[in-house]
């Protein structure tokens, strides 16, 4: 089957700055894929290249087998992109704007039913005739997603869709996007909320300084770091030197230790006892994607 997204040896430079340094990535149809990385890693650059907002310095990108440069019209018809910023056209209401958006893709009245379905699914029915300017931030975010879906694209890219969105709306958006995925849409998302990527995405690529530094199933990535995290609240300002190699993070009296084996708890506790440090609270936590992410970014 043709992959939803195929990226071969893509480089992108802005003057002397190399934003992307040889990206290779294949995303199959129907995948729910996450693109993670710290700020400036090149996630948005990669998305903009797929969308045709930027042109690659070298390399090839295709959407469902259509090259985004040479066959841009077919590629763009198959792709829906939700931009990161809350941008909108102040002249029109939600329904007008969505119909225009579908119209740009060559779709006419036959698509109106789908537009209405998107409006309803995203809880925009009450706002369908409201001018974009008058919508609240959360409603604008929904309209932005609706706009990317107006032409029913099989591949949907969401660039930080839940940034600055409250919990309720976030839940609603994910339910909707999960439904799209079940109905066969390929979903690619970038997010800063790693727990979202962990629960939603089957596969993850991590970017760092314009390179893919990890590409694996979420399950395998989580298994990369064995053991658990031990989080303690301690009545101490400094730790015994023997414990510092295990320390993962520290924040106002809370210390998190990475334990490759659970049995090491005993060692930690005995060292603390020897140093006469009192344990005020204790918690054992599963390794999450954030730990993997931090580990890889640190390397």
């Amino acid at each position: 089957m043709t992959p939803a997204i195929q990226i071969d040896q893509v480089h992108k430079s802005f003057g002397a700055f190399e934003a992307l340094r040889g990206i290779d990535l294949t995303i199959a149809q129907g995948e729910f894929f996450a693109l993670l990385g710290p700020n400036g890693a090149g996630k948005s650059t990669l998305i903009n290249l797929l969308a045709g907002l930027l042109r690659p310095t070298s390399g090839k990108l295709s959407v469902m087998g259509h090259d985004v440069v040479n066959d841009y019209q077919s590629a763009r018809r198959l792709l829906g992109v939700v931009p990161q910023e809350l941008v909108f056209d102040p002249f029109f209401n939600v329904r007008e704007m969505l119909r225009f958006q579908a119209g740009y893709f060559g779709l006419g009245k036959e698509n109106d039913a789908w537009v209405d379905e998107v409006i309803e699914s995203l809880g925009l029915t009450d706002k369908a005739y409201t001018n974009m300017r008058r919508l609240s931030g959360g409603m604008k975010r929904r309209a932005l997603i609706a706009q990317a879906l107006a032409h029913k694209p099989p591949v949907v890219v969401l660039d930080e869709p839940t940034a600055g969105v409250d919990v309720e709306l976030r839940q609603m958006l994910w339910e909707f996007i999960k439904r799209l995925n079940r109905e066969g849409h390929t979903i690619i998302l970038t997010t800063h909320y790693l727990e979202e990527a962990e629960t939603l995405c089957s596969r993850v690529a991590m970017l760092k300084q314009g390179k893919v530094v990890a590409l694996d199933s979420t399950h395998n990535l989580l298994n990369r770091i064995p053991g658990k995290n031990l989080r303690l609240r301690l009545a101490a300002t400094s730790l015994p030197a023997s414990l510092t190699p295990l320390l993962r993070s520290q924040d106002e009296g809370h210390y998190t230790f990475a334990l490759p084996e659970v049995a090491q708890i005993e060692f930690v506790l005995s060292e603390l006892r020897n140093a006469d440090i009192k344990v005020e609270d204790m918690e054992l936590i599963e390794v999450d994607l954030e730990d993997v992410f931090m580990e890889i970014v640190r390397q």
């Binding site: 802005f14 045709g52 042109r55 841009y72 941008v87 002249f91």
Partner: protein, 251 residues
């Protein structure tokens, strides 16, 4: 075709929804010019035999309003969507650069024609205006609107902030339109300034357009038509190059 048609329709609706500002306001401005200048100058100036100054003024004002509004339509739409960021929704679509150009161009021409025709309609209350060659009038109106619509697209692509757009408008469009013979015949100027006027493409648009009404002008309409037609084609070519290269729109 549907894509281009949709963009054209959206561009028309965009100005029509705020027609107080985009149609009524320029008509009022043109009328004020008409009242003031005709009141002050009507008894002193007669440009052509048998044509009152007020009548002489009207085609010039019509064309000036048409040109300025054609420019305003494409340029303001582009700069606004660039500053707001919503231009991304156009750039994500399969619209080709030619379709993009044509949709903006046609909408600009329509806005110019609507404003120009409105000035005419209102002016008819004040003075009788002959129509010697209607086809010439229409040709110059469409070509003039196209020329300025194209220039508006160029300005909209180039400008990154409202400030730069205002500079383009105030330092290029305004002087060229005011110094084009809207208010006078260039024959009344000293020889040096007559020569300078011949370098102004706006002069040919106004003079050719006026020729359509009175059957006479400062120069032959064929020359004006050639200058305006060639300028329009040259600017269109430049605009299409810019759009194709993605200049300032796609990195």
């Amino acid at each position: 075709m549907t894509g281009m048609w949709t963009l054209f329709k959206k561009e028309i609706l965009r100005f029509w929804k705020v027609s107080f500002q985009t149609v009524a306001a320029p008509v009022i401005t043109a009328l004020l010019y008409l009242l003031i200048f005709s009141h002050v100058l009507a008894s002193h100036v007669q440009v052509y035999e048998g044509v009152t100054y007020t009548a002489f003024l009207i085609p010039g004002l019509m064309m000036m309003s048409l040109l300025q509004n054609a420019f305003a339509n494409s340029s303001s739409s582009l700069i606004q969507s660039k500053v707001m960021g919503n231009i991304v929704f156009l750039l994500l679509t399969p619209l080709s650069y030619r379709q993009f150009f044509l949709a903006f161009l046609l909408a600009a021409i329509i806005r110019g024609l609507v404003v120009g025709a409105s000035v005419w309609l209102v002016a008819l209350f004040f003075v009788d205006l002959p129509v010697a060659q209607p086809l010439l009038i229409l040709t110059f109106a469409v070509l003039g609107g196209g020329l300025l619509g194209t220039l508006g697209i160029i300005a909209g692509i180039w400008a990154e902030k409202f400030d730069q757009m205002a500079a383009f408008q105030n330092f290029i469009i305004m002087p060229l339109s005011f110094l084009s013979g809207v208010f006078y015949s260039i024959h009344s100027l000293p020889p040096f300034w007559q020569k300078v006027s011949h370098l102004n493409p706006f002069f040919y648009m106004i003079d050719g357009f006026r020729h359509g009404f009175f059957g006479q002008g400062d120069i032959a309409p064929e020359i004006s038509l050639t200058v305006v037609g060639v300028s329009f084609l040259a600017l269109s070519w430049i605009t299409l190059r810019l759009l194709k290269s993605g200049y300032k729109l796609r990195g």
